[in-house]
């Protein structure tokens, strides 16, 4: 009963906060609701015994990326931005597409089967600690995808530096 209650709370709050984020007129308020949203997502990870991911969710998303969002939002001219009524006129099309996706997901849920349990059971994670289990599997079984991901990030970092350098020269 208690796990269902926890999950229900987090799921409902995540949906509710997401709606708040996209409906606020003031972008700074949006970002602050998003901060709360990220904390709820971290709570959901904790609920799944993924403590490392929960901490990283808060440190990376709430601590670094969202602060950059705030920077961008703060540097916009809010007073003028607030006057705009609607950005896009084609919202019925968007509603149709997202409705279609919801129907597709719900119909796909019916053929959902539980996968057979692997070696990473809750007892295993509790014994080994989540950080260690995740590290072991990332650096052995999934080393290649991990390295590709880091290469992609490296390219992005170098790209950002190159772009910033060009601006200062001209």
């Amino acid at each position: 009963m208690l796990p269902e209650l926890f999950f229900g709370y987090y799921a409902a709050m995540i949906v509710f906060l997401s709606v708040l984020v996209i409906t606020r007129k003031n972008p700074v308020h949006s970002v602050m609701w998003m901060l709360l949203l990220f904390f709820h997502i971290a709570g959901l990870y904790l609920f799944l015994n993924a403590e490392f991911i929960a901490a990283i969710q808060v440190i990376v998303y709430a601590g670094a990326i969202l602060v950059l969002f705030l920077f961008v939002v703060l540097l916009l001219n809010l007073r003028e931005e607030l006057q705009t009524a609607k950005f896009i006129r084609s919202w019925p099309a968007g509603l149709l597409i997202s409705g279609g996706i919801i129907v597709a997901i719900i119909s796909a849920l019916r053929s959902f089967v539980l996968a057979p349990q692997g070696m990473h059971t809750i007892e295993f994670i509790k014994r080994e600690t989540h950080t260690k289990a995740l590290g072991t599997i990332l650096y052995t079984e999934y080393l290649f995808p991990f390295e590709i991901a880091s290469l992609v990030l490296l390219v992005a970092i170098i790209g950002a530096i190159v772009l910033a350098k060009k601006k200062t020269r001209s």
Partner: protein, 338 residues
């Protein structure tokens, strides 16, 4: 079963009350101690009027702040203006919950203690940015922006300086980190991790907006920085949060680099009666290390002038982060080879 549960909850609540009470009292007297230390370093007396040697000064300050008028700027963003000091204060107080003060005394003994501390310190940055923005004042806004970029930059260096500790201890649990240091003859990671300790100390000064990195509150340029528009108890929350932040940083340094509540093994070898002492005695050892680090904060404040903002950024990005990366590589190599 229910009685056990209730007892557990009662114990945790009691621990929380003790930690909050002691921390707040500590913070109050940290301000007094700071004024005394800096006073004597500058050949002044410091607070002396209220009570013997000015000992009641922090209480007088607290009462004064409590009864001050709460002024809110006319064009402030009210909800955010209200919540910003709370975010700042709560984030630093929450960090106290994972700190082990002596053997077995920690409110939440979690496996990711160190990461939790990083998460809370990054949350504190929101209090600062939001207070700067919602005040609708250019001084506060500039202070908030400066603080945000400073905290983000130095958080990277601080996190990476502690990776060396994580590698050596093989754990993120703070109690385990303290116990791991007992395996080494010097009893503290500050000796093998001297580079990490140096980087951590410098970034701790920047993370808590202390001199020589207190540009967010540089009074000669920005009045008081991000909390310019705050008064009364809201200002007090920022003040308390800042000093609790110092306490947390000093505790992290004591736990991760100075051996926490333990003393090096050769000392217990010389004085075997030390091992007979009860567990709570060791909180004094822990506090001595914390106070030493806090004294260092005051010492630096009384000694060094403020840096320029671009110098601050280049120290963080061009010196501390590469040094921290070097430290990680060397530590990992040594760990594999030995």
């Amino acid at each position: 079963m229910y009685i056990d549960l209730m007892l557990n909850i009662g114990m945790i609540l009691l621990k929380i009350a003790v930690v909050i009470g002691v921390a707040l009292l500590h913070v109050a007297y940290a301000t007094y101690w700071e004024r005394k230390v800096i006073g004597h370093m500058q050949v002044r007396l410091g607070p002396i009027e209220v009570g013997p040697h000015g000992l009641l000064q922090p209480i007088a300050d607290g009462v004064k702040l409590f009864f001050k008028e709460d002024i809110i700027p006319a064009n402030a963003d009210k909800p955010l203006f209200y919540i910003a000091p709370v975010i700042f204060f709560v984030s630093t107080m929450t960090a106290l919950s994972v700190l082990p003060f002596f053997e077995g005394f920690v409110i939440a003994d979690i496996n990711i203690g160190l990461l939790f501390l990083f998460a809370m310190s990054s949350l504190g940055a929101y209090g600062i940015i939001i207070s700067g923005w919602s005040s609708n004042s250019k001084y506060a806004f500039l202070g908030g922006l400066r603080s945000a970029s400073q905290v983000i930059s130095y958080e990277i260096a601080m996190g990476m300086s502690l990776v060396g500790v994580m590698i050596m201890a093989g754990s993120l649990n703070l109690s385990d980190i303290v116990k791991a240091q007992q395996q080494y003859p010097t009893g503290m990671f500050a000796v093998p991790q001297f580079l990490g300790f140096f980087i951590f100390t410098v970034s701790a000064l920047a993370e808590t907006n202390r001199l020589p990195f207190d540009l967010p509150e540089a009074e000669s340029e920005l009045v008081a920085g991000y909390f310019t528009e705050y008064s009364g108890f809201r200002f007090a929350l920022f003040f308390l949060g800042e000093y609790t932040g110092m306490l947390v940083m000093s505790s992290i340094s004591a736990i991760c680099f100075l051996g926490g509540w333990t003393v090096p093994q050769f000392i217990t070898g010389w004085f075997p009666f030390l091992l007979q002492l009860p567990a709570w005695f060791w909180v004094l050892v822990f506090l001595a290390k914390v106070y030493a680090f806090m004294f260092f904060y005051y010492w630096v404040r009384a000694t060094l002038p403020r840096y320029r903002y671009d110098q601050l950024m280049s120290i963080g990005w061009k010196m501390l982060i590469p040094l921290a990366l070097l430290n990680i590589v060397v530590t990992a190599m040594v760990k594999i080879l030995l």
